[in-house]
Amino acid sequence: MSILLRTMPVALLMAVAALPVAAQAPAQKVIVAQSEIAFTSKQMGVPVDGKFRKWDAQMAFDPKKPDAGTVSFSVDTASAGFGSPETDAEVPKAVWFNAAAFPKATFQSSAMKALGGGKFEVAGKLAIKGSTRDVVVPVALAQSGGMTTATGAFTIKRLDFKIGDGEWADTSMVANDVQVKFKLTVTGIAPL
């Protein structure tokens, strides 16, 4: 009896803690085949577009309660490429992504904020090649026929993550700023 009484509050707490999770399920689904994570790097002033071919995302998001939303990404660093076999062979090497030691780049959101008009701001931690940085990503949502398209872009400093180390650290050759652009097709998001 006394054991039951003592464990009761703990059991209640656990049940309460589990509630929001249960309320959020089922989570939204990102359709990777209809989505894109791309980036633009400047090499000697030349903008060069690349993309990640392999990645996955988890999302739990209700436009009515954006503060409770979460999103996480896991990107295969070895799948980055500019579409030419020569450069694609370079990207996984130790000086760039070092895909052997750091096969995944991740993003984990920490806060979401509605800006109005289908625009949101997602803050979170971006981890690439063993370095983690806080980023704030603007996202615009558009909906049609049960599908939600999320688009956005943000800029990172490649040297924050030691992408292009050693002889490639020279930013006059390869600019420090790298623009990351994404277009996600998501199902299961409630109407805006």
Binding site: G45, V46, P47, V48, S84, W168
Partner: protein
Amino acid sequence: MNSNAFKSPGQRYTGVAIAFHWLLALMIIGSFGVGWYMSDLPMSPTRLKLINWHKWAGVTILALSALRLLWRLTHRPPADLPAPRWQLRVAHLTHGALYALFFLVPLAGWAYSSAAGFPIVWFGVLPLPDFVSPDKPLADLMKERHAVLAWALGVLVVLHIAAALKHHVIDKDGLLDRMRPGR
């Protein structure tokens, strides 16, 4: 060698034509050498630099060749020196083919760069338009064309130099003086 006979106007190319000839000769030979050397280098900042310099030089050669062609069309070159008919014909054909390649080699290189997804930014400052969109098979085709045309240009340049030297060393007809810089 006595070249007084060739100093009178009309016997020499114009100063502008001579400047174009030698400037472009240096640029074309230099770009050919850089292009050949860089194509087998492993990726490095040096290689990236060479590739960009090569592209900037190529576009500059293209632009200067356009001006040169305009000059050539509006200014009469000196008359042919006496030579067998077939030699004159081969010389004219060679010159025509050289001019065609001054345009075709850089244009194929430009198309290769665009098709490979690397737009050209002239001297790192002026973005040039892509007249083809990124396309892997087209990039491979243009890479091959660029190389074949560049080698054809190389062969013609060697032929051109050999013929000029033949005039200078064997015929001793003072042909080189028509294109010699200075007075």
